[in-house]
Symmetry: C2
Subunit: 200 residues, 2 copies
């Protein structure tokens, strides 16, 4: 946890510091990020930095906390309507992530970079965060009960297919921002998953 001095900081200085951290952590992996660059870009002395944070990890955690908070603020009002099935929720999820991505591309980038870092510290963080998988599984089971999805299909398996394809789509969306195209693609994938490839 950051020291009290960090929270006591005057707005301008704190903002400069946070800005520099965001820039750094959205440009480099946690491992490759550098306190040196952060203090240079925020024009804060080395000693001061360590007056605010224990170390780089402490600083990173604070930034992640901030991001989580903002994410919560952005989406707390989006009360999910009664689900119309996993596939519908799949599309809704895509829409939602897009809002987040456009609102805070750097935050999203930080998430992407976290997936690339193999350090113990980041690995542990990633483990704690439950993936979309669990939620999808829950929805798939509900769909099976309602008779939308065949019961012989393993919910876990289908959920994995959904997450791995959605990850790819989200990455493309992040890289070239063709939202309508990605929605179209997702709809096609859904159609494919619903109807299969077989010629009847």
């Amino acid at each position: 946890m950051p020291k009290q001095t960090f929270y006591n900081l005057e707005k301008d200085k704190k903002d400069r510091l946070i800005e520099a951290c965001l820039e750094e952590f959205s440009s480099y992996t946690f491992t490759d990020s550098s306190i040196n660059r952060i203090i240079k870009n925020s024009d804060i002395s080395r000693g001061s930095f360590y007056q605010y944070f224990e170390n780089k990890e402490d600083c990173y955690m604070e930034i992640l906390g901030m991001i989580a908070k903002e994410k919560y603020e952005l989406f707390k009002d989006v009360v999910s309507d009664e689900s119309h099935g996993v596939f519908d929720d799949y599309l809704n999820m895509l829409k939602q992530v897009r809002v987040w991505m456009e609102a805070q591309p750097r935050y999203y980038k930080i998430g992407l970079l976290m997936q690339k870092d193999d350090s113990d510290f980041i690995r542990k963080l990633n483990e704690k965060n439950p993936s979309m998988n669990d939620y999808f599984i829950y929805l798939i089971k509900k769909d099976q009960d309602k008779g939308f999805i065949r019961k012989d299909i393993d919910p876990y398996l289908l959920s994995e297919v959904l997450t791995s394809t959605s990850q790819k789509i989200l990455l493309e969306l992040f890289e070239n921002k063709e939202y309508d195209l990605m929605i179209e693609k997702s709809k096609q994938i859904i159609h494919l998953l619903q109807n299969g490839t077989k010629v009847l």
Copy 2:
């Protein structure tokens, strides 16, 4: 390209050097790998290393070249039988990668680490390597001609679904080595893709 001195090297020394390189490059990203560790582990002096290679990139390329060669040697005799459809080839691919993975886990790991490195050098290398995508697309089109797959399905799309799921499966296979389980899983995915999720 490595300098002539590298190829002139006596077997033992050369082996030690290559061994240390493999260990390094399968433990660290190209960016994070260190010549220092390589020379320490192979007991070769700093000066000598630069007598063999221009720099780290040169060294890395040589190792990649070696890997490609061995891969070719291992699979050159595996003449692919006449294709029985993409899905069959999907399974065959899995079997083949497994052979490679078990034969040379470190080589496989190097490939995985390459995907995590964002440096220009590695990005350019990755771009050159054509993915399985292209091959899958080709097979899917053939299946469509033969009437195995509906013609209204976009081959590119299906190929993307296949590659993203297979990547996940290969990663799991690499991490916990439960081959039979992974084959079973793949078969289920194929079944899912062929028949869809709809209740008929």
